[in-house]
């Protein structure tokens, strides 16, 4: 471990003149992440979300920053950052639009939705329309199954769910995002932006509109979610009644 840290320091010494990209506040946040875990390295995934929330992607400075905080080599952090789809290697737009094109969503229209958005925005997978970070700039990606198959076809904007989309509704949604509007997701909190979402993934809920108390509510019980429960209620079906006193079995005899 020490050797790796030394290596990082040596590497740093080659270009020592750079202004620190991440301020004291980010450093303090990074420390708070480390404190959550019994072992520091567990903080790496949330910390990568944190640097991404600062810069809109995981830059080489972001990688160096994480390496320094966790006494890892930049290569070790890079190896992790490049493994996971959600860490973006190029600057992202104000919003990220993820269209599920896995089999089920695709069969119900997901491929058409993706194609329509791609044509409208003039970009392909993992590319950004507009100037990254500016209002109305959008990064498009096709996503793997987003675990909302009962609402298919789905897409996410900044990881908020927009259920039961059509090529037309998705295009309208993207156009309004480009105008700087923030249409409400079908389920989830009000839309913020990619960087705020990334900060929440790092475990921080401290920005206006993104405080835990403000953002925890919002709709989540879509008709599909409640379908079985509603149907049971209407039909008078229930699970068997629990006994008043259900015993917990005694300790098993030692063999």
């Amino acid at each position: 471990m020490t050797e790796q840290f030394d290596f990082t320091s040596t590497e740093r010494a080659v270009s020592p003149q750079r202004e620190p990209v991440f301020g004291e506040d980010v450093r303090a946040d990074a420390k708070r992440i480390v404190e959550r875990y019994p072992e520091a390295r567990s903080a790496l995934l949330p910390m990568l979300h944190l640097v991404q929330s600062e810069q809109g992607h995981v830059s080489s400075e972001g990688i160096d920053f994480c390496a320094e905080q966790l006494a890892l080599s930049a290569a070790e952090v890079s190896a992790v950052a490049t493994f996971y789809t959600m860490y973006k290697r190029k600057p992202c737009g104000q919003h990220i639009v993820s269209v599920c094109t896995n089999t089920l969503c695709a069969a119900l229209g997901g491929d058409e939705i993706y194609k329509g958005l791609s044509e409208h925005l003039g970009v392909g997978h993992d590319e950004t329309a507009g100037t990254p970070g500016e209002e109305g700039s959008l990064t498009l990606e096709h996503a793997e199954c987003l675990a909302a198959c009962d609402h298919a076809p789905v897409l996410q904007v900044d990881y908020e769910y927009y259920d039961k989309q059509s090529p037309e509704s998705a295009l309208e949604l993207v156009k309004s995002l480009q105008r700087g509007e923030k249409p409400a997701p079908t389920r989830g909190a009000g839309l913020t932006d990619f960087r705020t979402a990334e900060r929440q993934l790092a475990g921080f809920f401290d920005r206006p509109g993104a405080r835990l108390s403000e953002s925890v509510d919002g709709p989540s019980a879509a008709p599909e979610t409640l379908r079985g429960a509603h149907q049971a209620q209407h039909s008078g079906w229930t699970a068997p009644a629990m006994p008043d006193e259900a015993p917990i079995p005694p300790l098993p005899e030692k063999e």
Binding site: S42, L48, F83, M86, A107, Y159, M242, L251
Partner: protein
């Protein structure tokens, strides 16, 4: 016990019942609806009694493999020489699977209560919930629920005066399907690339930070408080002998009313389809998955297969996550299989050669076939590559990747052949091969 022999209702909402209450995710709602009563009861018992209870109830893991949860718990050492960990697998990503995310959104406290009970039973003082990064709203709800639980003394030091301490950390993943594999999840949680580990040692010996660890699925753990309150006999009144209890069946695709239906294990697709209003627009069923894309396909012949761990296996598939993706006659099987194969190609972690190479070759062959450039020999090539991936990969991803292909060819070989007809020597150029699905 006469009463116990009677057949339960078609739907048995246990986990999903509270979802109907307004603001079901708030602790006040949860407490009004018997929330945290199971925890009090559990903390009054000995940890091993709870392990015994879960064993007797016959609760089987809801994450796909169906391993008996109580048995898994009993692998944990009795005397903690090192810290013990409970890790919750909330990395829901198996195509078709969409039960844990609504559960965590609607009723995060049931998971938290289950976590504390399970941690107590396994002598763990730290529990990590590894949530898929794309499930941002679940992460918010869980974080808020954890805060609420600390404030009411259900987490932290000396919980409810029992002397037991338990902390929960909500951890966001970063978009890698492989992290749903329990040892890859542990590596990811340690801040590494999510690649599976060689077993043994199993997590109960050397899991997170090489300490004794149990990894359980969300639905499994959220079921525990109900078993504590209702007892094992009550639990066993639903489901079948070897697969007891209620289960959330997630119906998606070409059905009239897709959604979450909690029914006893052993319910059939025919029964579930009836509840869901039948096939969409009356277009007949063609193929379906009993538990996600990694479970071999079923067809209309399998409508009466009892959907429990034994029933699905006897019929040649697996119960998986009870993610019932339903496709009608308009969908091309080779196309669907190609799409799933592209998914596995993308998600293969690259650690072992059969899966890394195999998924890439399989995807290329299927893409060629769907594009109308295949030959009959490609079918044999596919099966040959599948044979070299299945059972030879490091983890279950490889096995899952070949499931749609081998079962697709088994039941729909004609469709694969039809794609190749035009490429026979001397054949007339035919219709362009179907690429993609009709609506």
């Amino acid at each position: 016990m006469t009463d116990a022999d009677s057949r339960p209702d078609p739907l048995t909402p246990v986990l999903t019942k509270r979802w109907l209450s307004p603001n079901s995710w708030h602790i006040d709602t949860y407490e009004q609806l018997e929330g945290y009563t199971a925890l009090r009861k559990a903390l009054a018992a000995q940890p091993d009694q709870l392990v015994e209870l879960v064993k007797t109830a016959g609760l089987r893991g809801r994450g796909g493999a169906g391993f008996p949860a109580g048995v898994k718990w009993s692998f944990m050492p009795k005397e903690p020489a090192k810290p013990h960990y409970l890790v919750i697998n909330a990395d829901e990503g198996e195509p078709g699977t969409c039960k844990d995310i609504p559960l965590m959104m609607a009723d995060p406290h049931s998971l938290i209560e289950g976590c504390v009970i399970a941690s107590y039973a396994m002598r763990a003082n730290k529990c990590m919930i590894y949530v898929r990064g794309e499930a941002l709203h679940c992460i918010r709800r869980l974080n808020a629920a954890v805060e609420e639980a600390y404030a009411r003394g259900y987490l932290g030091r000396d919980i409810l005066g029992s002397g037991f301490d338990c902390d929960i950390v909500v951890h966001a993943g970063a978009g890698a399907y492989i992290c749903g594999e329990e040892t890859a999840l542990l590596d990811s949680l340690e801040g590494k690339r999510g690649q599976p580990r060689l077993k043994p040692p199993f997590p109960a010996q050397a899991g997170l930070y090489a300490c004794p660890t149990t990894v359980n699925n969300v639905e499994t753990i959220a079921t525990v408080p109900f078993i504590v309150n209702g007892g094992s006999d009550w639990f066993r009144r639903m489901g079948r002998e070897k697969s007891p209890g209620p289960k959330i069946f997630s119906l998606s695709g070409h059905v009239e009313r897709p959604g979450q239906y909690e029914a006893p294990l052993g319910t059939t697709l025919r029964e579930l389809l009836e509840l869901a209003g039948g096939m969409k627009d009356g277009i007949p069923l063609k193929f379906w998955t009993p538990g996600g894309s990694s479970t071999p396909l079923f067809t209309a012949e399998h409508l009466d297969v009892p959907l429990d761990f034994e029933g699905a296996a006897e019929a040649g598939s697996m119960l998986g996550t009870t993610a019932l993706m339903i496709f009608n006659e308009t969908v091309s099987v080779p196309w669907a299989v190609m799409k799933w194969t592209q998914f596995y190609e993308h998600e293969s972690c690259g650690k072992c050669t059969p899966c890394r190479e195999g998924t890439f070759w399989l995807a290329q062959v299927l893409e060629r076939m769907v594009d109308g450039r295949g030959t009959e020999q490609d079918i044999d090539t596919l099966l040959d590559v599948c044979d070299n991936v299945f059972g030879r990969s490091f983890c279950a991803l490889g096995d899952g990747a070949v499931s749609p292909i081998t079962s697709g060819i088994k039941y729909f070989r004609e469709e694969f052949l039809a794609l190749c007809q035009q490429n026979r020597p001397g054949a007339e150029p035919g219709e362009p091969a179907l690429a993609g699905a009709a609506r």
